[in-house]
Subunit: 245 residues, 2 copies
């Protein structure tokens, strides 16, 4: 069953945005009486199409659905901005795994040269990817994608706890800490993972981070993970520890 | 430090294969006295270059290194063969996360049409990807990539335990079992995850799998995961449960 995340206004009018109508008509080839799910404000409704033309679509609500797909803690991925399109994959995959927000962080070793206008376009594109991935994975919330920011501009004390994935720990087999801490997090806790770009977190950034007392350095297993995999590991373990039993 | 997985013969002759020599000379631009790591048979050696030309390279062993990067259980990913290049990403990422083997499984819902010759070429390519990912993540073992196979031809009793990731479980929030079982696996256990292609595992395949008493149906968290993410979730949780403390 297809799910669409929609706006309050479209919900009030029992319709969809023009691009979603296009998708229903041209891609999914919906007809009258076809059903889909709309999601807004953490709620989900099964709806049935009552009227559909090339440019308009009106549905009726059949029932509210009880779909619980959110992690019970808010996980922000502070990702050292990586090369190429990797950040798009990180959003796509991280959304499926329950992330609450993504921060494209311009770290020392991020190789990044684009102007402000293209940055804004990129953020719009990232937000669209987050919305589509949310729909596909039946998320109730669309993860937020924050603007590009340098590490020192992030308000790190806005998080209850921050895990810093520092690959030197992995190299020296110094493995500790993540597990017990995740288990004991209170429901609704705001946590973050800081993940370096290719080449890792710079030593000067590690020194900076060590000032904060809500920071915990962790390792993500015995192997060297590429930057685009680290957030997936982190989010999988949060789901595993807190959702499965 | 660069690591290369090499053959017994090249190790005996203190050299590398022609393609690795090319990489050392042309890509990495190594000179005499440069160092790298060679790996074979679960062992790792720091070596130093004693002689290098455009086509030849001779090194000397400096020391054996104690690098332990293997999971303590053998995890085989039986992956319903997915569309496009996704299987390559599954190998690349799964190798970083410690998989022991990958099986491209032609399941009911795999959309796959290539002839035998191209299949063999693909397996060669998959093996190369596994080797490179092993080197990058300092693995001691190169994961095996098995030939294309249908589900009913796999000897499922060759595994101690098989987890079947069945998305219907996730949809109905029926979450159970994975955690305790992973914790209790004996060291060296041979386990597998069976993951459906796009569209999931077919009901007839589920009926077939239910005959085996070494099979456990599991859910991978509360959200619908795309097929290319499921193995990453599975492997991350194995690492998390068994490697971190």
């Amino acid at each position: 069953m297809q799910k669409f995340m929609i706006s309050e206004a479209d919900f009030t009018n029992r319709t969809l945005s023009p691009d979603l109508i296009y998708q229903c008509v041209k891609v999914l080839r919906y007809k009258i009486n076809d059903e889909f799910i709309v999601g807004l404000n953490n709620k989900n409704y099964l709806v049935v199409i009552r009227n559909i033309t090339d440019k308009t679509l009106i549905y009726e609500i059949k029932e509210e659905l009880n779909i619980d797909t959110e992690l019970d803690v808010f996980v922000t991925i502070i990702q050292g901005y990586p090369k190429g399109d990797k950040f798009e994959d990180i959003i796509k995959h991280g959304t499926q795994l329950g992330a609450a927000a993504f921060v494209p962080c311009l770290m020392k070793r991020s190789q990044f040269k684009i102007d402000e206008k293209r940055m804004n376009n990129k953020i719009e594109r990232f937000k669209k990817i987050a919305r589509e991935a949310s729909e596909q994975s039946f998320r109730n919330q669309i993860p937020d994608v924050l603007p590009f920011i340098t590490l020192n501009k992030i308000d790190l004390y806005s998080f209850d706890l921050i895990f810093v994935c520092y690959e030197e720990e992995a190299k020296h087999n110094n493995i500790k800490g993540l597990k017990e801490t995740i288990r004991c997090l209170p429901k609704g806790a705001k946590i973050a993972f800081i993940i370096g770009p290719e080449g890792g977190i710079d030593e000067s950034e590690i020194i900076y981070l060590k000032q904060f007392n809500n920071i915990k350095f962790i390792s993500l297993g015995k192997r060297i993970l590429r930057t685009e995999i680290a957030s997936l590991y982190a989010l999988s373990t949060i789901s595993y520890e807190r959702e499965l039993e």
